[in-house]
């Protein structure tokens, strides 16, 4: 393995890697703005300059002020290389911390801040802004320029999701490279030269592809801001949890940023995962967090339509158990959910098996347009997981369920999830039935026609796992506290089972997951 030395530490690298890439893999930070591990190299910010101390030294002439003589005299300084562009060589010795490099950092940082607007109090990036961080670490001098900063357009609406501020922009071209290379849509480019530089849209276009929020994500400063997140929260009040996007079967890894004081989620950010989503997420996925706080079902109800009344948790479970007992088990439909975790579906599958019900269906949102970049054709996060949870048993669709209801083959429904149907009208046949029990986190079509609706926890409130379309199982952790009186679906199902006189064999998530492992082994 070829090795080079960075700041005294030996780093092994693959031939063809740059110093920046190798250092990043080792977890060593060389300050940079325009480099990104998922984009091509631009080397325009000049912040990652390092000195190559081995081999023939390149020198640059410069004039240095001589205090003794009182005038400028010729001198040389070593020529520094941008680490993002510098190919690593075996035996090379590189320093990113010596005096020359420190002066370069301070100088580059000073130039970047020269015309920067005094926007920190109103800029969303404050608290996670590299200009702020690198100023504190590498510059630390006050402004030397006495003339007015250059003014450029501010608050330019690039599209339905993004606002651009040219004064804050440091022209790193990350957004341009992202749109070109990842979103495959050349909609952004740069105009003018020198300090008149500005990012502009292609003529007649808006920034409207499916990954526009990623341009805000890669922007190291507050030049590109998301209209959804703008002015909503300050990032130092937000804590992060690790989760998986519920938008489609790709299962992009996410950071969930929430304010623990209010228990409110403010945004999602992509989490790096080389096997699933690399560094990116699509706009629809980024916006799935809004589902957490809208249309939640939080109290159990009995009765449908005008007769709907709230009931207590225990009463609701009793009612549900009665409804299920009143139906002949061969006519009981159990509906799993492709929106719920594998654990929730596993618990429901176990209950169905314990009751002897073998009419299993899968509720899932309809197909939509995927693409070759990240978005799957299946907009449900866990179709594969729900299928695995009832290993072997066939799962029919909601259309089949409605047909079976109309033909009389099904007289009772126990359904998990809110994704049974898009519109209430589609579920009209179910209103003829007397025993429809819905376990749902959201107010949606099925709970509206249910005789008993019991709330369960949503993805952010409970740990679980999804299986994506490539068969990768990914776990997510609970991020927010459970709302009062709401439990994870697997817990509610176990309680319902106890009301029906069945013990599903697990007390907690660990016991349930052990059952999943056992089922997987049995399937082999």
């Amino acid at each position: 393995m070829p090795k080079f030395t960075l700041n005294g530490k030996e780093i092994a690298f693959e031939p063809g890697e740059t110093v920046m890439q190798a250092a990043w893999r080792e977890g060593i930070e060389i300050p940079h703005y325009c480099w990104h591990p998922g984009l091509s190299v631009a080397a325009n910010c000049r912040m990652c300059l390092v000195q190559v101390e081995s081999g023939r030294q390149m020198a640059m002439p410069q004039l240095v002020f001589d205090e003794g003589k009182g005038e400028y005299v010729p001198a040389t300084k070593p020529k520094l290389q941008p680490a993002c562009q510098l190919a690593a060589a075996d035996g090379m010795v590189v320093s990113s911390t010596n005096e020359q490099v420190k002066r370069a950092h301070a100088a580059v940082q000073e130039f970047l801040l020269l015309n920067h607007p005094v926007d920190c109090p109103i800029c969303d990036q404050a608290g996670e802004c590299k200009l702020q961080d690198y100023y504190y670490e590498h510059q630390g001098t006050l402004k030397r320029k006495l003339t007015e900063p250059v003014h450029k357009p501010k608050g330019v609406r690039f599209g339905p999701t993004i606002i651009y501020d040219a004064e804050r922009c440091i022209m790193c071209t990350r957004c341009i490279r992202f749109c070109d290379e990842v979103a495959k849509d050349h909609v952004l480019d740069m105009r003018e030269r020198g300090n008149k530089n500005e990012i502009v849209l292609a003529p007649g276009r808006k920034l409207d592809h499916e990954y526009t929020l990623m341009t805000e994500h890669v922007c190291p400063v507050g030049a590109l801001t998301s209209r959804d997140f703008r002015f909503k929260a300050r990032v130092w009040f937000l804590k992060s949890g690790q989760s998986i996007c519920t938008g489609c079967a790709t299962g992009c890894n996410t950071h969930v940023d929430y304010d623990p004081r209010y228990g409110k989620v403010y945004r999602l950010r992509p989490r790096d995962n080389a096997d699933v989503n690399q560094f990116w997420m699509c706009d629809d996925g980024m916006m799935t967090y809004t589902r957490q706080h809208t249309n939640r079902l939080l109290t159990p109800t009995a009765g449908r339509g005008d007769e709907r009344t709230p009931v207590g948790e225990d009463e609701a479970l009793d009612l549900a158990a009665d409804k299920l007992r009143s139906v002949d088990v061969s006519k009981l439909a159990v509906v799993l959910s492709a929106q719920h975790s594998t654990e929730d579906n596993l618990a429901l599958g176990k209950l169905a098996a314990a009751l002897g019900a073998d009419r299993l269906y899968l509720a899932a949102l309809g197909d939509w347009e995927g693409d070759e970049i990240l978005r799957s054709d299946d907009q449900n996060p866990n179709r594969a997981g729900a299928t695995r949870a009832v290993s072997g048993a066939g799962l029919k669709s909601v259309e089949d369920l409605l047909a079976d209801v109309q033909s009389g083959a099904v007289e009772g429904v126990l359904a998990l999830g809110w994704a049974t149907a898009e519109k209430l009208e589609e579920l009209r046949p179910l209103t003829a039935l007397d025993a429809v029990v819905s376990l749902s986190s959201h107010v949606a079509a099925l709970p509206a026609v249910a005789c008993v609706a019991i709330p369960v926890a949503d993805t952010f409130e409970v740990g679980g796992s999804f299986v994506n379309e490539k068969g990768i199982a990914q776990a997510f952790e609970s991020v927010l506290p459970l709302p009062a009186g709401v439990e994870p679906a697997w817990k509610t199902i176990a309680a319902l089972a106890r009301k029906l006189g069945k013990d599903l064999g697990f007390e907690d998530l660990r016991g349930l997951r052990q059952g999943l492992l056992d089922a997987a082994e049995a399937a082999q």
């Binding site: 801040l113 005094v118 100023y135 001098t141 006050l142 402004k143």
Partner: protein, 302 residues
Amino acid sequence: MPERCQYYRVILGELARIADHFTSNGASAMELGAFTPFLWLLKVRDWVWDILERETGARMTHSFGRIGGMAAPPTLNFKDDVRRVLPEVHKVVKEAEIMLIRNRIFLDRMQGVGVLTKEHALSYGCTGPMARSTGIPYDVRKDHPYLVYDRFDFDVPVGEDGDNWDRFMVRFEEIRQSVRIIEQAIEQMPDDGPINVDDPRIMLPEKDAVYTTIEATIAHFKLVMEGLRVPKGEVYSFIEGGNGELGFHIVSDGSGTPYRVRVRPPCWYNLAAAHEMLIGGMIADIIPTFGSVNMIGGECDR
């Protein structure tokens, strides 16, 4: 820290020490029934507080020191104001002494009362006038000089008997020595030059720069939001406060908020020794003894 700031801190600190000793001795006398010396000492204390108010904005709760400097530079008339007050201090201290040191009642109630032995003082960790009254010549300004104290010529008054009288007189003598220090500091203090360290990573920048330039805004933002980043490690830093050794033990984990801060308040340890001075005496002796400990609640318990 710039030199000018070190002199500034010495002068303001010694003025505060003088003010504290006025209060302590005046209150001791008042508690024994001598109200006039109390008001007499408070008169000159108020003139000292006037100077502090002109400099810092507050008579007592100054909050004036900053990491790397002070909150504001000295006022233009600082040296003149201080020079004008110092002879008054001498005069009033002399007059207060005259009122008290030949008074039979005062002597009877202070001499031989509330005796603290040297061994007890050492074992309880007493410092300041309390320890010096028992004969322990420990003064942080002499033994571990800080700021510019090593440039001044001054003595440390030390008692012999460790009774209330020795503590009373040690404090009056300390006032005179503090005046000596202030006179020398006023002479040596540079009249121009920076008061604050010139590093936006430590000192908050000037407000007008914060409002108009991005660099100052960022410096202000980082210092306020994340705190001043101190390198990892721990330090115990201590000075001679009015009551004794005032120390701060700070442990930093490298971030902007300290991992642990523990204050060593001088009068906490002094007060711990108080029962050694009281047990065996009369109930009436509690009054002058407790007064001579000079326990300030805000310092003791924070």
